[in-house]
């Protein structure tokens, strides 16, 4: 008899446990409050009226893009929080003007922190602060202090160019560009150009091409090579200048399509002022577009 009571009790217990899942869950589950979307941006301490509904994940970069009547900021960072480019279009005295983060060794001059990036809920939070300059290479140019914070959902978006990158090992350490820009080597020459590829650190890798003649092939280069060559430069925070190393190595262009160029490289750079200071760059791998001249 006791056993029968025990069996009945166990069956009844198991029934209670499972018979009405929904009610049981609804009783104990706390009300889920959707996190508030926030994008705040201050210019010289004044809060702008900017709002943003989301951030975009494009391959390995996060882009914040929004606009109002007199502001149009764009923040491009890596998923790890490295600064690619921060700039605002700012309507002032009747004209639109641009202000950029100082792009050389950018992490030394601008602060950006991702405090939370939930890849399951696709949500990112963080803050930023520092000066933006009218000339991204000149710390003495007109500047504005821009700071703010964000807490936004992240929407994945199709990359316009899939696989844009420039990666290498600098003295065996992985290095990856986040931002690049293009300059003419000579103001009147539209063919010989240099792609300046930047991470947020002190290094910059410069790839020199000729729009017409940099066709697929293998190119050996030395420090005197005008084109189809690669150089490395290191930013000096005291002189605020780059030291460009004397470089010798090999570049292979494997593909030209649209305004894109793909290839590989490896080389050794030597400090022109100190022969014992060398930098070895290996496993160079790039797929870059030729943007408009900077």
């Amino acid at each position: 008899m006791k056993r029968l009571i025990l069996i009945s009790a166990l069956i009844a217990f198991s029934n209670i446990g499972c018979s009405d899942n929904t009610e049981a869950v609804s009783e104990i589950e706390p009300e889920v409050v959707a996190p508030e979307n926030k994008f705040e941006l201050y210019v010289n301490g004044a809060l702008t009226d900017l709002t943003a509904r989301n951030a975009f994940l494009i391959e390995d970069k996060i882009i914040f893009q929004t606009r109002s009547f007199d502001f149009e900021p764009t923040i491009k960072i890596s998923k790890e929080g490295k600064i690619g480019q921060i700039h605002i279009d700012y309507f002032e005295f009747g004209v639109w003007r641009k202000f950029y983060n100082f792009r050389n060794f950018s992490s030394n001059f601008y602060s950006l922190e991702i405090t939370s990036y939930d890849t399951i809920l696709n949500r990112i939070e963080g803050n930023f602060s520092g000066f933006l300059y009218a000339d991204p290479d000149n710390l003495n140019s007109q500047s504005k202090f821009v700071n703010g914070s964000f807490s936004l959902p992240v929407i994945e978006s199709v990359p316009i160019i899939l696989g844009l990158n420039n990666t290498a090992k600098i003295n065996g350490v992985d290095w990856k560009t986040i931002h690049h820009y293009m300059r003419k080597d000579n103001p009147s020459d539209y063919h010989n150009l240099t792609l300046h590829t930047l991470s947020d650190d002190q290094f910059k890798i410069l790839l020199k091409f000729n729009r017409q003649n940099s066709t697929p092939g293998i190119y050996s280069f030395n420090n005197n090579s005008i084109t189809n060559s690669v150089k490395i430069a290191k930013y000096n925070t005291e002189t605020h200048e780059y030291l460009v190393y004397d470089c010798t190595g090999t570049l292979e262009v494997t593909e030209r399509v649209f305004n894109l160029i793909r290839g590989t490289y490896s080389f050794v750079g030597q400090n022109p002022n100190d022969a014992s200071d060398t930098i070895e760059v290996t496993n160079g791998n790039f797929f870059l577009n030729f943007p408009q001249f900077d």
Binding site: I155, E156, S157, L162, V257
Partner: protein, 314 residues
Amino acid sequence: MITKFNDVHPLIRNRVVLKIIFFAIFFNFILSCSSTDEVVEIINETPPEYYIAVDGVKTDFSTIDNPNLSVTVYNDAVVLGATLVGATPISLSLTYTKSGDFLRGTLFLYEGAPYNNQFNFRNYQNFPANFMQVHNFEINDVNNTLTIDFEGKLYSDVNNLASYHRNIRGILNKNFVRVNENLLSLFYQSIPQYCTALINGESWVAKEIGSESTFTAEDDYRFIIHIAENTPPGSFEFDPNSIGNYVKFQRFNLNSNSFEDYIVSGVISYSYREFHGARRYSHIGTFSFLATNPNNPAETIQVTDGVFRNFQTY
């Protein structure tokens, strides 16, 4: 002999009791936890109206009724068109035959307002149906809906399968707009063109002009028609050695990724030619021939009832 339960040895009795408890709890658990609501929910789940991804990233067409995503059914083709203005401005257009074979596609991506750079990707131009797989294709004329499931590549170089490309994937179940017109009418330098024939008795219609007087469709066939300059109207026999008036019949070889000439023997005739200035003419005529596979003489193809209007520059 029937043994009373209480007469069984206590150890055996306990095992039996434990087994009863176990099975009772197990079956009770299964029965009580299975939810008929869940089953109904799964059965009633309707497929999404669309899914389009570029390189695995779902494009944000934001709402089901977004007018930027459209399907148009013509008399001879079905066109899926999609545009998106956002973080990545995209324009996608895919054209299928009414039987669901892929014919042509374009993907345009724009960089930087006011879109200084445009990256264009198109289908591989040879045997296009082979390079954009269609897993499911159904035109429902009652509900005016198109169901389609496709995947493939669009290339930066339409002649090079190794060129920079983008992967397109799509699943749609969407209302279409019907337009009672032909979409696939051919023109070359604004001159109307056509080339139709029966291939082993099956109708074949040119839907693309690769280059001057070169006709292709969604499949692996290619016709190249040539009439020598100053040839008067008439009928002309041709074979693989003919250099004046002939039809070249080719099939795309997927192993070599190139067109192969079939060994042809037949007749081409033209009745009228139109002068377009500067040694440029279009010819209106007919053809029929027997084609033999160069790699397999036992395989022959009978091409009959060929009708064409081509364009040639001399």
